[in-house]
Amino acid sequence: MTNTAADRPLEGGLLTLAGVRYQYAGASDWALDGVDLSVEAGRVLAVVGPNDAGKSTLALVASGLAPLAVGGRLEGSVLLGGHETRGLAAHEAAQRCGILFQNPSTQLSGTAHTVWEEVAFGPRNVGLGLAEIVERVEGSLAALRIEHLAPRDPARLSGGQAQLVALASVLALRPRCLALDEPTSQLDPEGTRLVGEAIRRLAGDLGSAILVTEHKTALLERVADTAIALRDGTVVARGTVREVLDDPELVGLGVDPPPAVRLRRALAAAGVPADVRGRALAALTTLDAPGGAEARG
C-alpha cells in the first residue's frame, strides 16, 4: 500500500504519536499497535479504515483521554505541543487537544439553556475570568460563523448545527490540536459541508493541528493534507491525502474511494479517452466545491 515520506511521522508536529500501543482495560488485544504519526500546525491528517480498525481509539489516545479518562494501558509516547500526555491531568490534556465525538448530543453538557452558555461550559470549568470567557465564547462562535446560534436552545438544533456548537465548545478551551472522530457521521450533506468548511478554516485561520477520522472520503479529499489508513490498529498506508485515497488497495480495507477516484477508474475501465476523462473529472470537482450545486443549477 501507499507509504510515502509526505507525512514524515515523527518530525516535531503539534500532535505526535511515537510507537503508540493502546489496550482497553480488560481487553487482551491491542486496539492500537505501533502507531507513529505527526500533525503540524495548520495541517489536517485524515484517518481512514474499516470499522473496528482503531480510528476512534486513535482519536481518544491523541486527545489524551485514553488512558487519562478512559483507563487502559498506553505504551509509546503521545506528545501534545511537546508535552507527554502521560504526565497531564485529563483537564490539562483537554486544553491542549480537543476531541469531537460522533454524536453531538452526548458531547453537549445538557445543562445549558443557550448555545452561548453551552460554549462557556469548558472555560467556566477552568475558572477563567468573565471577560476571558466572553471573549473565548464569542471567538469560538465567530471562528465557526455560528454567532447567530448563540441565543438558541442547544437541545433544539439540527444535527449539523449541534455538531458545530459541540466543536465551538471544544474550541473555547483553546486547544492547539483537535481530534475529530467521525464528526459528520450523523450529518446530512449540508451539515457535512458546514463541518468540512469549519475544519479547513480552523487549520487555515487558527493554525490548529487536526486529526480527523472519517468514512466520507469525498470530505477528506477536500479538507485533509495528509492521510493514514488503519487496519487492526496498525498504520497500513500513509502519504498525501490524494495518494492514500487513490490507493487501489483501499477498497480491500472497506474504504470507499472518493467519487472523483471512482469516476476516473470507471472511465478508464470503459476505455474513455484521457482528455474526456479529464473534462469529466474537472466537472465533478466543480460540483463538489462549495456552491457547486448552485452553479450547476
Binding site: 483537564h91 480537543g98 465525538f101 454524536n103 453538557s109 470549568n125 475558572g127
Partner: protein
C-alpha cells in the same frame, strides 16, 4: 390530634405568596395532584380510625366517626399545605437560578451538574421513549391494547431505554472530561442572581423561625404534631 395551626399558617403564607406572584392558576395541577391522596386519607381515617367511638353515620359494616373525620381533615390539610409550598417554590424559583446560586455558594460542581442534567434530561428521555415506542409499534408491538398487552410491551421499551441511558452516561462522562470538568479551579459564575437586602432578611427570618419552632417543640413549649 394534630392541630390546625401549623398547616393553616403555611397555607396562609402560600396564598399570600401565590396572590402576590400571580401564580394561582398555575398551581391548579399541584392541587389536582393531591386529590387521590386526600381522598384515600379521608376514607381511611373517617371510617377506620382506631379507637374512635363518636359515630356520625354508618355505611354497611363501616362507621364514620367524628374523631376520624377531624383527623382526616387535619392530615389532608397538611398534605395540601405541603404540596402547595412545593408548588410555590417550583413556580417562583427558576431551576437555572437555583442551580446558579447553589454553585455560587460553593455547592460542588458535580452535585449541581447532576441536578441540572437530570432536569434537562427528562424531556430528552421522554422524546427517546416516544421514538422507541414508535419503533416498536412499527415492528408490530401492541402499545395500545389491553393493560396486560401494554404491560407486556414495557420490556421492549425499557430495555433500549436503560441500555441507551447507560451508554449515554459512559459517553457523556468522557465528553465531560474533554471539557475540563475535572479541573480543580472554582467554576466561574456567569450569571449572578440578584439578592436584595429585604430578600436576605426574609430568608434569615424564615430560617431562624423554623429552627426556633423546632427547638420550642423539642423543649415542650410548643406541642409537636
Amino acid at each position: 390530634m394534630r392541630g390546625w395551626t401549623g398547616p393553616l399558617v403555611v397555607l396562609a403564607i402560600v396564598v399570600v405568596t401565590a396572590t402576590v406572584t400571580r401564580i394561582g392558576r398555575a398551581m391548579r395541577p399541584f392541587v389536582l395532584a393531591t386529590i387521590p391522596l386526600i381522598a384515600s386519607i379521608l376514607l381511611v381515617n373517617t371510617f377506620l380510625y382506631p379507637g374512635a367511638e363518636d359515630v356520625l353515620f354508618r355505611l354497611g359494616p363501616l362507621a364514620a366517626t367524628g374523631t376520624g373525620l377531624t383527623e382526616a381533615l387535619q392530615a389532608g390539610l397538611r398534605v395540601v399545605a405541603f404540596a402547595l409550598s412545593v408548588a410555590v417554590f417550583s413556580l417562583t424559583t427558576p431551576t437555572d437560578d437555583l442551580l446558579a446560586d447553589l454553585e455560587r455558594r460553593g455547592v460542588g460542581r458535580r452535585g449541581v451538574f447532576v441536578v441540572g442534567s437530570a432536569i434537562r434530561t427528562i424531556p430528552r428521555m421522554a422524546e427517546r421513549a416516544g421514538e422507541i415506542v414508535e419503533a416498536q409499534r412499527a415492528r408490530g408491538l401492541d402499545t395500545e391494547g389491553s393493560w396486560l398487552r401494554r404491560i407486556r410491551g414495557i420490556l421492549p421499551l425499557a430495555g433500549p431505554m436503560i441500555l441507551g441511558a447507560v451508554t449515554d452516561v459512559e459517553e457523556r462522562t468522557v465528553a465531560l472530561e474533554a471539557r475540563a470538568f475535572s479541573a480543580p479551579a472554582r467554576r466561574t459564575v456567569i450569571r449572578p442572581i440578584p439578592d436584595s437586602p429585604p430578600e436576605r432578611a426574609v430568608r434569615w427570618i424564615a430560617g431562624l423561625g423554623a429552627v426556633t419552632l423546632v427547638v420550642l417543640g423539642i423543649a415542650g413549649v410548643l406541642r409537636l404534631p
